[in-house]
Symmetry: C2
Subunit: 72 residues, 2 copies
DNA sequence: TGAAACAACGGACTATAAGTATAGTATCTC
DNA sequence: GAGATACTATACTTATAGTCCGTTGTTTCA
């Protein structure tokens, strides 16, 4: 599977665990609402700075963000 | 420390472990020699697709690439 | 039955990463 | 001192990352 899709699945999974809408989450990580949506759809090649922003919004380290079978 | 620098340190660390020059490594991951150099210097905000290319060149998963105290 | 919340989608735009080229420094060997 | 190897500095083009505006379709619930 494409790494873009894996990132999308992981993001959606974490966001749903927290019970947040895309919009609410976009406020937390200070990224655009539509951008978050397209990441979740596996359409984006996200840069490491934004991955870090996303991880921080989930109160987790970059290591923990990638600590999933998806990235094994 | 900036995440860009952390990526650079991790890359250099892994490359040195393998005893590869920047140029030889750049052949392995099919990225430009000078591009690899600037990543190592923490100047680039690398995207996940290129991080995956780099990890693959080291025969490791993205998970393992980030499995370092640097990203904890 | 409508309005509020949510996600998918699109178009136009700006910012920046990707990728390349060239030159330069430092060290070593012959 | 020429040639080879390893790395750094800078600067540039072009692809695409990322923003901002809006619309549409669905679900849920008062």
């Amino acid at each position: 599977m494409d790494i873009r899709s894996k990132i999308g699945i992981r993001l959606k999974e974490l966001r749903n665990e927290k019970g947040l809408s895309q919009e609410k989450f976009s406020f937390l990580c200070e990224l655009d609402r539509t951008y978050i949506a397209s990441i979740e759809q596996g359409k984006r090649n996200v840069s490491i700075v934004n991955i870090e922003k996303i991880a921080k919004a989930f109160d987790m380290s970059v290591y923990h963000f990638f600590n999933s079978d998806l990235f094994q």
